[in-house]
Each structure stands twice: as structure tokens, then as C-alpha cells.
Symmetry: C2
Subunit: 435 residues, 2 copies
Amino acid sequence: VRPADVIRTKRDGGELAPEAIREFVLGHARGEIPDYQASAFLMAVFLRGMSRAETVALTRAMTESGRRADLSSVPGVKVDKHSTGGVGDKVSIPLAPLVAACGVPVPMISGRALGHTGGTLDKLDSIPGLRTHLSLEEYVETVRRVGLCLVGPTDDLAPADRRLYALRDVTATVESIPLIASSILSKKAASGIDALVLDVKTGSGSFLRDLERCRELARTLVEVASGLGLRAVAVLSDMDQPLGRAVGNAVEVEESIACLRAEGPPDLEALVVELGAEMLVLGGVAKNPEGARSRIREAIRRREGLAKFRAVLEAQGGDSGVVDDPGRLPKAQRSTPFPSPGEGFVAGIDGAEIGLAAMSLGAGRARAEDRIDPAAGLLVHAKLGDRVRRGEPLVTFRHASSTPLDEARERVARAYRFASEPPGRRALVLERIVA
Amino acid sequence: VRPADVIRTKRDGGELAPEAIREFVLGHARGEIPDYQASAFLMAVFLRGMSRAETVALTRAMTESGRRADLSSVPGVKVDKHSTGGVGDKVSIPLAPLVAACGVPVPMISGRALGHTGGTLDKLDSIPGLRTHLSLEEYVETVRRVGLCLVGPTDDLAPADRRLYALRDVTATVESIPLIASSILSKKAASGIDALVLDVKTGSGSFLRDLERCRELARTLVEVASGLGLRAVAVLSDMDQPLGRAVGNAVEVEESIACLRAEGPPDLEALVVELGAEMLVLGGVAKNPEGARSRIREAIRRREGLAKFRAVLEAQGGDSGVVDDPGRLPKAQRSTPFPSPGEGFVAGIDGAEIGLAAMSLGAGRARAEDRIDPAAGLLVHAKLGDRVRRGEPLVTFRHASSTPLDEARERVARAYRFASEPPGRRALVLERIVA
């Protein structure tokens, strides 16, 4: 099959044979098919979509483009969690040690911040000395020895995804459900896990705001994962305000440690319990969701995750002293409160605006090549339903003395909406989707 | 405007500002915007379309990417003719000298063969010594001195089109009306002409088979030309069988010379009269279509085009002796008749199959880099409505002794459809479209 014919078939809305997709993706990964044909293909996929069978074939080909981790030396069902990204979403950091402490191996591979959403990998990188870039062998060894790891994708995992993702970023083909699903799942399938919990964020702070599109993404992820032989559960969770109070990198690690000490914000803890329970059931150490939730709650209360967290930091060269003394994390030069311009009950917080405010302080990146200030970020004082008086601090900015605050101030002011009545409560987990 | 934003807007079906299109096209032509962004843009245009204003802006930017010929030193209204391509379509070769002989300057810029359709430039290249690749200065000088020229596009005319066209060919984005229209018209606008007759072919031998799509292309061409300040008329003409009898290169030049001698096939002469009349009216040397047709018919009868044809061949270094002795053109080693496998009235001739049969003999090219055999081709003996007995020759192949004939035989056998009754007559010119 010639590359132009593959593009033409998709352009005309036809369904591609798995073999045609495989040849195209592997040809591109090997550099035989040029980027200009790949980007025309990506745009055709963006506008015409893909069937489940095509998405499975695409994901499988991307997985095959690199090496595959062999975790068979690690006993137990290996379970990872992936989030589609949100503002203040530090769930992975407390979740992985807690689930590992309950006996389920967690080989957790995370990504970087882009746009208004943060990235677990950037947050972890604020821990002094921590190596998040391991070889495939070190990755397997860490999971075997510690029962978890907290890393970025190794270079040899699904290299086709790296090439395609870089193209998508510059050709306006990012927000396509089959392309998002194949990018996420190709790395997961190559990482050697057995099962996966998918946290699909919906609402103003998420990547896809529309609920129906989130549902379709969750369904696609679960079905394609199943087509690849992974057991998977997806949860649609609310991202209509930042999760917890900290938004940034070091500040989110600090909040994660608080969560492991049973001193975290309630919404963060509640989501850790929900996702952790799914992982315990998939991992076979809990019989039912109720039992799994009790077990995770107990692990939090007893601070069982702290030892695991210390162990993984030490295994990856990080300063485990941060667990007992978060003051060892990078500290911003300045702390500037932002007084509320309005008053009443907080009726809405645009998560994307909060994320972009933190980005403007140096906590995130607008382009992949931007550098991050690990100490920068903000703390959210007023959350949905809180009553606020004019002039009370809505958030506190953490920033370098030289950082201009104008954009952050504008965005936070724009993010908050006040009302004279408290808003209705919204559930944290909206839906649960299984294959 | 960032390139990815231009792509995103078109991807989402939005209308682009002329300035955004201009920056994108010129950025790509200068090599600042990479091919992978251009091809994603082309696919988005292919699937989302373009408004007239966008197509005008696209065409204008492509024109601006290079030099512009200044024909103001040539008195009169300069008129060119462009055909969307067909099988046996040699119209340009007799038409240009005839119209020039009637006093209208014809700066004719032609293209090459691709797929089943032939290219005037390849046909002209079969004339010994003829230079069809002139500099912009030689082009202007030839039109000034002779009143016409028969050339290919110079390198400095609309270079953006050359880059985009090469990309379209390998990214399945060729058959898009705004992209076709901008490619044709950018070169025409840069060539310094005042008016243009567009021959949009429809039917089995054409580039776009569907009548409604042809109509849309014709309308787009006329309206965009008008938006660029060119006067334009489009004619939808029948290409449901090869035009004339010769299909190839030297064989088509020979038939063109016969037409200039008033000895050409009737359908070819009829189309030359129709298109020539449009050009005379646009060129201001005839008051109305009836007068214009009479003038062209008279020019054919009096063989007025012969002297002009000799003059242009001499001006461009070609052997003008071919006009009186077509035996000086390249001659195929073999002439092999193909006996009819069926009998009855010829009810259908698939033009594309005939074109591909000629291509398989060496008369055309499947890929842009293929070489052409100028002597190869075929002669069509049985045209629509002719009565044929089994075993009588349908066509005669002209070919090198080493050329295998299997594909040509198969294609010709597949092209012909017979019926017991003669088919209804079909008009040669189906519609006429003005801005």
C-alpha cells in the first residue's frame, strides 16, 4: 500500500486495514514516510475519525515501534493510572505509594505540563536529586524492588508516538479522540502493565471541556485498551475547579505529602480513594469497591504511603528528607496574596484560567521547549461554595521577585464568579465506564 | 498569526483572513513554514473547502510568491486558454496560432501529462529542437515578436504553486476545487495576460468526472479569475471519448497540423472554433460570438494558422519543417492494429482507459519523474456512434518494438461498449459560464 493511498482512504472516510495502518506508522517511525505525509494523515484522521478497530491497529503499531518492558519478574497484577490532565491534579503522587503499600505493583509513567494543565513529571522533578528518566532496565528493577516507580516514558517506549505527538502539536491535530487514545495507550501497552485506571477529566480545567466528548474519549480508551489485552476502567471526574489547593510543582508535591499524612484537602483525598479503590480491585487485592475504598482510607489514616514514597524517592536518587521536611523543596522568593475583587458565594472557578495564571508565574509551559520554575505556582484559598468578602485573599501567588504578576491577576479575576446563593454541590466522580 | 492557528481555523471550518492566508503561503514558499504544516493545511482545505474570498487570497499569495511577467509592451488584449485536461486534447496547438493569426496575442503556458491525461508541453516537446522552457524575458519577447508563444511555466512564475503542487501529489490532496483553481490561476495571473478562456472537461476522459463538480470548478475558476482582475469565460466541454483520433505526443502534433490545414477531425475543429470564438470576443477583435466563429472558421479554411505556427516554432528554436512534412516528427517503430472483440454501434468509450492505454505504451507518465516516448501513442478508428464489425481495428497502437502491449489491449477492450442501436448525440460544449 502506498502512503498516499492510505491518506486518500482516510480522507474519503473509508476504514483502513490494520496492516495498512501498521505499515504507515512503522514507516513513519523509521523515517521512510516523511512528516508531510504523516501530517496530512493526522488531519484526515482528525476530521474523519477512526473506528475502534482502526484505533486499536494504530495503537498497536505505535507500541510495536519500540521496545516493550517485561514486568513478568514482578509478582502480582501491575496497575497504572492515567489522567487526561487537569489543574492541580497531583493525584498520581500520593496514589501510587498508597496503592503499592496495599500490595499492588504500580509502574507509573507520567507526562509533562502543556498549556493550562500541569504534568506529574514536572512536579516530581521539583524533588531534589530525583531521577525520573530511567532506562527500561532501571524501570523494571525499580518496580521489582520497591513495588512502584514514578518516571517519564523511556526513549525506547513507543517512539512512533513521540514523532506523531510532536507533529500533532504543530499541525493543530491534538484534540482528536483516536489520536489521544492511541498516544496514551501505546505507551501504557509498551510499559508492561496488566491493567489501567483512566481518569478522564471534564469541566473548565480539563483538556476536553465538553462532557459528551469526554464520555466518548473514556469509552474509546476503555475499549481500545481492552482490544490490546489490558483490563481497564475509566472514571469521568470533575475538573470544574482546581483539585486541592496547590497549583504548581513543588507546592503540589507538598500537598501530596500532606495527603499521604491524612492532612490533604478533602477533594484530593476523595479522588485518591476512588481511583485507588479501582486499582485495588483490578490488582486483585480487594474483592469489591466498598472493601477497596475502606482499605485505601485505612492506608491513608495509618500513613502507610509515606514509607513507600520515601522508598521510591531513595530508589530513584531523590531526597527522601522532603517527606518529613517539605521545606527542602524549592521555595519561591515571594508570596503575594490576591485580594478578591468581588464578594458572595464562589459560584464558578474557571480551571483553565487558574492553570494559565500559574503558567504565567513560571509553573507551566506554553511551548514544549519552555523552562519551568519548580517553586512557582499558586494556592487557592476560595473554592466552589465558599463565602468570600471583598478584599479577602482568593489565591496566593508563589513567584520569583522578578516575575510580573499582571497576567496572573487578570486571569484569576476572570476565573472567579460570585453569586448571592451557594451553588449546588457537584459530584467529584460523575461516571464510571467499563469495557 | 501562528501557522498552527491558521491550520486550526481551517480545520474547524472557519474562514481565514486574506492576510493569514498570504503569510502562510509566502512563509511556506520561503521555506519558513515546513512542509508538514503545509500538508496539514492542504488536507484541512481539502475536507473543509474555501470561500471565494479565501480562494482569491490563496491564489493572489501564490502569484505574489514569484515574478510577474509584464506584457504591457505587447499591444492588444492578451488572452490565454487553459484546459483541465483530457484524452487527445491537443486543442491548444492549433488554437493558439489561429487566434494569433486573427490578431489576438496568445501567451500560452501549458503543463505536462500526468495519469491518464496528456500534457500540451509533452506534445510540443516532440517537435525537434523546440525550446518550451524560456526565461521570463524570452517569453515576453516571443509574444511581442510573434504574437504568441507555446511554453511551460518559467521557474519564477508562482513558485509557491510548484511547492504546494508537489506536496498535494503525495498527500492525496489533488482533487480539491479551491486548490485546483488556485494552482491554475496563480500561474495565469503571473503570466501577464488580460483574459482567459477555461475549458473544463467533463466525462470519462476528464480529471473530474462528475458534472456537478465540474460546474463548481468552472464557476470557481471564473469567479476567482474575476477577483484577480482577469476577464474569464469557462466552457464545460464533453470528454466522454477521446478528442479527435490521435492520443499521444507526436501523433497529436501531426493531427494538430492537419487541423490547421482544415483537414483535422470534425470534433477537434468544432472545439477549436468554439474556444477560438470566445478568445476573439475577449480579445476585442470580434463583436459577437457568431462573428467570432465565422472568423475562426475562415482562418482555418484559409490556413492562416500555418504561418503563425511556423513562426512560433522558429522563434522557439523548433524545426518548422514539420508543418509541411510531419514525417520529421518522431516515428514509432511499430504500428499494431487492435481488432474489435465486439460488434455493433459504439455506445461508450471510457476516455480514462484509452488515456491509460496510451500511457502504458510510453506516451504518458504515472509519476512526475517518468520519461515519455514522444513517438508512442494510439490512433482511435471507432468513435461514438460508429458501426463496427468484430475483427475490424478499433485502434492502432504506435509503439517501440520492445513495448509489451498486454495492458494497452486490456484497457482498450475494457474501454469500448457496444449496443445494437446508435447512441444519442451529445453536444461537444455542454455549458458556458461567465462571472
